[in-house]
């Protein structure tokens, strides 16, 4: 019976591998279809809301009125689908075991179509990624595959959706690895490739084999042009920083508004966008037709400069006000306009022969993508897949890398991660991968520590600690702890005659914390920084939620062989 059982288990494991292979194809197809449908839905909505040549009244009223509708949907029905969808997908993959409810996908589809179709300056790729990942996650759960496999399906679905949304299969695979998983060497590369290919096959069989942009063949005309491309790379890095900072500041401002205004915030964004569209309708929606024009040299210098600035402002307002849509397409748009502007100037004034401004617009797209999204490999391959031309690769790589490093230097946390931080979600730092046997904060923490109010005395806090037999306690409310204090620290305060003092004033407030997956060396380092001799262990999904405390005693208890967490 034992041998038979083991053999059956092995067969089931093999079976699950095969099922997973089939699933990657099916998920790729479904994610591709969802992305195509999403794109068609946006076109359909836009066509029916604006018509062929919209009047000023339409341009103003449509975003406002539709934002009121989406505001209600986003506040009452689908509260988790604001913004891009890429950071949420990353969070689901890294922190939520790949769990993305079907409701999220459906909500993102509906609100995304309404927001982008009604003229908000946002992209369709980010939402496509989340919709694709949601499809994958839902399918995985429905088939009841193992949790590990279900989690693996998230980047597979994301790659499939992005491949179809942008018609760039290689870039989609790289994006899934580089951005979603955070590791270009991830073992999921095969699955993402399969999903990406099956998705692109589906997309091309429906939409035809037309590339997203029609770009003439560009190449480096003169070696001195590399200098001009370097300037573009530096400029792109600066514009990326401006975009990210403005987006994050505006979003923080909206978040600081009273909670009851959340339902109206998208409409506030819609109001601004409505006014902008009256004067500059070219920034409406995804705006790829204007990117195409910039790539083909169809826009004047002044127009490109104006569109670069207005699109940047419009996108930050649309996004920060809580509408559903991404920053992927806007970053390409702003990049194309910024690149085209630089290109037109270089073409007019450089003392050496140069390529057309369209070549700079093309490189500019990759530059802003590398600076904002921080996926330099994806950006290089994406532009390469668009142009299918090796000639532009060298200037592209040069400008992309410069933009990437400048952006990274002055904005260390990528914008997607910073957006999650604003939502109190802390993703693990890139490159942090723990082995299964490694000890982390989860293993050394004391769960469910006691809380005391800041106006309780030090004596009362010490009593609570003794009663709970806890090595440390937290000062403040469960939603907002302000300090973490160890028993040794309390003993020291009592010995110093400060037992009657309110604990809130006796101990210094501290924001130092660790997450459950932090390695022990990080815990030790942070413990040294902590003023109260103890560290709160907080959830990555919500940094306001305390899961436990770590002190030197709990740490030594573990290293001495005593388990503090069963």
């Amino acid at each position: 019976v034992t041998n038979a059982g083991a053999s059956t288990a092995e067969q089931l494991r093999l079976r699950e591998d095969r099922v997973f292979l089939v699933l990657t194809i099916v998920v790729g197809v479904l994610a591709g279809l969802s992305a195509v449908l999403f794109s068609l839905g946006i076109d359909f909505t836009s066509r029916h809301l604006f018509g062929l040549a919209p009047s000023s009244t339409q341009l103003f009223l449509v975003p406002v009125l539709m934002s009121i509708v989406t505001g209600v949907l986003l506040a009452r029905v689908f509260p988790d689908v604001r913004g891009s969808g890429v950071p949420q997908t990353e969070a689901a993959y890294h922190l939520g075991g790949g769990h993305i409810p079907a409701r999220v996908g459906l909500g993102k589809f509906l609100t995304g179509v309404l927001c982008i179709g009604s003229g908000h300056s946002m992209g369709r790729e980010g939402p496509s990624v989340q919709i694709g990942a949601s499809v994958a996650s839902t399918v995985g759960r429905w088939l009841k595959i193992s949790p590990r496999r279900a989690r693996d399906l998230v980047p597979v679905g994301a790659a499939g959706a992005l491949a179809a949304a942008f018609n760039t299969p290689v870039a989609a695979v790289l994006f899934a690895l580089e951005e979603i998983i955070g590791d270009l060497n991830a073992p999921l590369i095969g699955s993402t490739v399969i999903a990406s290919v099956s998705s692109v096959i589906v997309e091309r069989s429906i939409m035809g084999n037309e590339p997203l942009f029609h770009v003439p063949t560009y190449h480096l005309v003169h070696p001195a042009e590399l200098g001009a491309y370097a300037v573009l790379g530096i400029g792109g890095g600066i514009v990326s920083i401006v975009f990210c900072k403005l987006l994050l500041s505006l979003r923080r401002l909206f978040q600081q508004l009273p909670a009851r205004t959340r339902i109206l915030q998208p409409a506030m964004g819609g109001l601004v966008i409505g006014v902008v569209l009256i004067f500059v309708p070219a920034v409406m929606g995804v705006g790829y037709e204007y990117v195409d024009q910039a790539l083909n040299g169809g826009l004047l210098l002044k127009t490109m400069a104006l569109l670069c600035v207005v699109k940047l402002a419009a996108t930050t307002i649309s996004y920060a006000s809580g509408n559903a849509g991404g920053i992927f397409a806007p970053s390409l748009y702003i990049g194309a306009m910024a690149g085209g502007t630089v290109g037109a100037l270089v073409h007019a004034y450089a003392p050496f022969p140069t390529a057309e401004p369209g070549a700079y617009a093309l490189v500019g797209m990759g530059t802003l993508f590398a600076g904002i999204i921080r996926a330099p490999m994806t950006s290089v391959f994406m532009i390469f897949e668009i142009t299918q031309d090796y000639q532009i690769l060298v200037p592209l790589m040069l400008a992309n890398m410069l933009s990437f490093f400048i952006s990274k230097r002055y904005l260390p946390t990528p914008v997607y991660h910073e957006l999650l931080r604003q939502d109190n979600v802390h993703l693990p730092a890139p490159g942090v991968h723990l082995g299964l046997s490694a000890k982390t904060a989860r293993h050394v923490m004391r769960p469910d520590p006691p809380f005391v109010a800041p106006d309780d005395t030090v004596d009362a806090a010490l009593r609570a600690l003794v009663e709970e037999e806890s090595p440390a306690l937290l000062v403040g409310s469960r939603d907002q702890p302000v300090a973490c204090v160890s028993r040794e620290e309390l003993d020291r305060l009592v010995a110093a005659g400060r037992g009657r003092e309110p604990i809130g004033s006796a101990v210094a407030a501290s924001s130092v914390h660790v997450h459950p997956d932090h390695a022990l060396d990080v815990v030790l380092e942070r413990l040294r920084e902590a003023s109260g001799g103890a560290l709160p262990v907080v959830s990555r999904f919500d940094v306001r939620r305390v899961e436990g405390v770590v002190t030197l005693e709990t740490l030594l208890g573990t290293t001495a062989g005593r388990r503090t967490l069963s």
Partner: protein, 370 residues
């Protein structure tokens, strides 16, 4: 030893069966979703094509009203909505060229050409763009692509070749033009008008003999065709057949300046040449005396340089001739040569008159120029 269900084969089989059923359901869902999405995409594409057509019509209307910039915007939207329709792209390029945006027009055309390098309309527009910036090699290359492209309608390549020939002649590329002309006239012309056109081009290319052939062929079809008569007359004039020229040009209206001048000069040549055939000796002497008297008067009015040395020579020849008969050919030829040289000397004193030009031609006709 594993979960309990592994020791229960019927339960395992049921799980596997359920898994297969679910996968099949998923595949079925994907197939249905595929066809539904494709139907939606087709509807969307049709709507997009309709929008493109509407933008094209709007663009044409703007163009007709002279609002070129607005027409460019409309055509551009049409091309973005329907990339496959090259008519929209061509309309955009033409509007851009009309707005003086030559570079943009050429970029639009080159983008179009990337998708359809064999399209003669695109190549023709590119050739015209190159000709506007006087880039002869590029223009010739694109004209050739247009000539050898795939034409939907008949007559296209011939028209393009004629345009190419005219372009080459404008840029003084006579040899290239002649080569194109020879290629164009491999097949007999379709009618008198075509022969006249070819004759005119041969004339412009410096081939009066072939030109006259075409004009005469046209006259055989329509004997009173004014352009053919004028062309044949001018061709004959250039070939030195002044009698034929005068005959062809006799009825040509005066509004054709070249023909009128040719007729006048040809008539003067015929009336002034002492060596013209079938003339009485007295008439030859009179013509030569008239020529010498004219030359002397002109030399007297034109002081300095060669004129000063030639004037006594003409006077002396006139004097010699007045005392004896001019019946021998050598004397006549010497006289013609002298009048020719005197006429050459007038050139320094102003534009030649019709008679001057006639005497120059008489001199050339009888080898005085050599």
């Amino acid at each position: 030893v594993g979960p309990s269900f592994l020791r229960n084969p019927p339960l395992t089989a049921e799980l596997v069966h359920r898994e297969i059923v679910k996968l099949l359901v998923l595949v079925a869902c994907a197939v249905v979703a595929f066809f539904a999405t494709r139907a939606f995409a087709d509807a969307s594409r049709t709507a997009g094509l309709r929008d493109a057509e509407r933008w094209f019509i709007i663009g044409q209307a703007h163009l007709d009203q002279g609002e070129v910039q607005r027409s460019i915007e409309a055509f551009r939207r049409a091309t973005l909505k329907d990339r496959t329709n090259r008519t929209y792209g061509l309309a955009l390029a033409r509007a851009e060229a009309r707005a003086g945006q030559g570079e943009a027009a050429e970029r639009t055309l080159l983008t179009l050409r990337d998708g359809a390098p064999e399209d003669p309309r695109i190549n023709l527009e590119l050739a015209r763009a190159a000709s506007r910036r006087n880039d002869v090699p590029a223009a010739v290359r694109y004209y050739h692509h247009a000539v050898y492209g795939v034409w939907d309608t008949g007559g296209g390549p011939e028209q393009v070749r004629l345009e190419l020939i005219q372009f080459l002649l404008r840029h003084d590329e006579r040899r290239l033009a002649l080569a194109e002309l020879l290629a164009a006239t491999r097949e007999p012309a379709a009618g008198a008008d075509d022969d006249v056109r070819f004759g005119q081009l041969f004339l412009d290319a410096g081939e009066p003999r072939r030109a006259r052939d075409h004009f005469e062929r046209a006259l055989r079809v329509e004997s009173r065709l004014p352009d053919a008569l004028a062309g044949a007359g001018i061709a004959a004039f250039r070939l030195g057949d002044y009698r034929g020229a005068a005959q062809y040009l006799r009825t040509v209206p005066d509004d054709n300046r070249t023909a009128r001048e040719a007729r006048e000069i040809a008539t003067l040549v015929l009336a002034s040449d002492p060596l013209e055939g079938r003339l009485a000796p007295a008439e030859r002497r009179r013509r030569l005396m008239d020529g010498l008297a004219y030359a002397r008067r002109r030399l007297e009015a034109c002081q300095g340089g060669t004129a000063d040395t030639l004037a006594p020579e003409v006077g002396e020849f006139e004097h010699r001739l007045s005392r004896r008969d001019a019946g021998d050919r050598d004397t006549l030829e010497d006289g013609v040569d002298l009048v020719y040289r005197a006429t050459r000397a007038f050139e320094a004193c102003g534009a030649p008159s019709a008679l001057d030009r006639a005497w120059l031609l008489i001199g050339e006709r009888h080898g005085a120029a050599s």
